[in-house]
């Protein structure tokens, strides 16, 4: 995070893209966007667009990675070469491998992995276009894709990023706020509640800001969770309603 640069990120009480401090960018969720995958979902959050797919449970190769009493979850997070302003090289790198790991750890607590001994549940996240918040949006999409694939779960994961600009806490970091802001605080919660399954921070928060930052993250996760519920309830028809 670049610091010391004197860039005003708040003008006339609004953020550079016109949002209020606690306002999220426009949000769009779609379920079952891919045919081949067992489950899939796409999320657009402003200009950030992510597709997540789930394959599984399937047989896990190689055999030595199998766990006798539960399924193994594997997560691959990737940014497409043309998803960023400067082209990024395709293929895994240290950043994408770490993000894959924290997303896996964020999802493991909600999946009944023990129902599928020795099997593999594979999650593929492709960042189609990046304007900050790609890991949290990827995670929220992965949770929808798991539900779409019929994987048994305790609930859903919703995730958003809280930031700080000119000493004010903001919801859903984007654009210049990502490059010049004072903090990036991605957080994931179960069912929009207070159990947190992903948390990272880079930047500078004082201790008094921790509680309001967590509250703001919860507010964001609730917005996401409501929309996740909506898309799950409205994509597939059940009963005789037309």
């Amino acid at each position: 995070m670049a610091k010391g640069l004197d860039i005003k990120l708040i003008k006339n009480g609004k953020r550079l893209d016109g949002r209020d401090m606690e306002e999220m960018r426009p949000l769009k969720m779609e379920l079952g966007v891919l045919d081949r995958a067992d489950g899939s979902a796409a999320i657009e959050l402003g200009e950030t667009k992510v597709i997540a797919a789930v394959y599984g449970p399937t047989k896990l190769h190689p055999q030595h990675r199998q766990q006798p009493k539960k399924a193994v979850l594997s997560v691959r997070y990737q940014m497409l070469p043309f998803s960023t302003t400067d082209r990024c090289r395709p293929g895994p790198n240290r950043r994408s491998i770490e993000i894959g790991l924290v997303i896996k750890k964020a999802l493991e607590p909600i999946i009944f992995l023990e129902e599928f001994p020795r099997a593999d549940i594979q999650i593929e996240i492709e960042v189609i276009q990046a304007n900050a918040s790609t890991r949290v949006t990827g995670l929220t999409a992965a949770s929808l894709a798991l539900a779409d694939a019929g994987i048994p779960m305790k609930g859903l994961i919703s995730a958003c990023a809280v930031g700080k600009i000119q000493d004010k806490l903001i919801l859903d970091v984007a654009g210049a706020e990502d490059s010049y802001g004072g903090a990036d605080f991605p957080i994931a919660m179960i069912n929009g509640g207070d159990e947190i399954t992903l948390l990272q921070l880079d930047g500078d928060l004082n201790q008094k800001e921790m509680k309001p930052a967590l509250d703001l993250a919860q507010k964001g996760c609730k917005i996401l969770f409501d929309q996740q519920k909506n898309v799950l309830k409205n994509t597939y028809k059940v009963g005789d309603q037309k």
Partner: protein
């Protein structure tokens, strides 16, 4: 003590279905303190004032003992056939369960009975805790399938395709003249002069599995379609 959602409504993972202890958490649900909660995106059902369960919309077939399934041979080794069951778990068919007759390996090889990519209707004999699946052909319903074709539907729609005491699949058989075998794993074998129509009927049942009065609807539809052909 109350139902939190309506019978037959669509529920999502983590959604509370019932509050109180007078119902039992059935398949597809778990108990969280006083509540019964759904594990799946699926349809909630309250059974006989006793049990709540959730039928998932999608998902993979997990082998169960005594199920009849349709599989194909994925590998043949020294004394076993490995069988793909349209599931994360492969089945093992040992030599001793392969046929009723005694096989003398000096005279014959396993491929003479079931070769790679051959399709069989097979019974699941045993499933261990770690999901090792043992199969047997020693049942009058088990057999190797010759000719016809296989289609795959979601295994969660199999009960609908079979219908109450076999009425749905019976109707499709009658109206198309096809022989049809439905595996619990979602694979369906059909053979006859009008396979095309039977395939379309089965896909229609799968797509409309959630609607009521489906057997009548399919009967009517098959009559109309048969007229078109003539």
């Amino acid at each position: 003590m109350s139902e939190l959602v309506k019978d037959k409504s669509l529920v999502i993972p983590g959604e509370a279905l019932f509050e109180g202890m007078d119902y039992l958490p059935g398949p597809g649900t778990y108990r969280n303190d006083k509540k019964i909660v759904s594990k799946y995106l699926g349809v909630a059902e309250f059974k006989n004032n006793r049990l709540v369960r959730v039928i998932p919309l999608k998902g993979k077939y997990i082998p169960r003992e005594n199920d009849f399934v349709i599989g194909y041979i994925s590998r043949v080794s020294h004394a076993i056939w490995q069988v793909d069951l349209n599931s994360p778990y492969e089945g093992i068919l040992p030599l001793s369960e392969g046929t009723e007759e005694f096989i003398d390996l000096n005279e014959k090889s396993l491929e003479d009975f079931y070769d790679i990519d051959d399709t069989i209707v097979v019974k699941i004999k045993k499933v261990t805790q770690t999901k090792d699946v043992q199969l047997t052909m020693k049942d009058r319903r088990a057999k190797k399938l010759i000719g016809g074709r296989i289609i795959e539907i979601s295994h969660t729609k199999v009960p609908r395709l079979i219908g109450k005491s076999g009425t749905m699949v019976g109707t499709i058989k009658d109206k198309t003249g096809c022989v049809i075998i439905v595996g619990q794993n979602g694979r369906v074998w059909l053979k006859g002069n009008n396979e095309e129509l039977a395939v379309r009927a089965i896909k229609k049942v799968e797509a409309e599995a959630h609607t009521s009065g489906l057997t009548d609807k399919i009967t009517h539809w098959l009559d109309e379609e048969s007229k078109k052909v003539k």
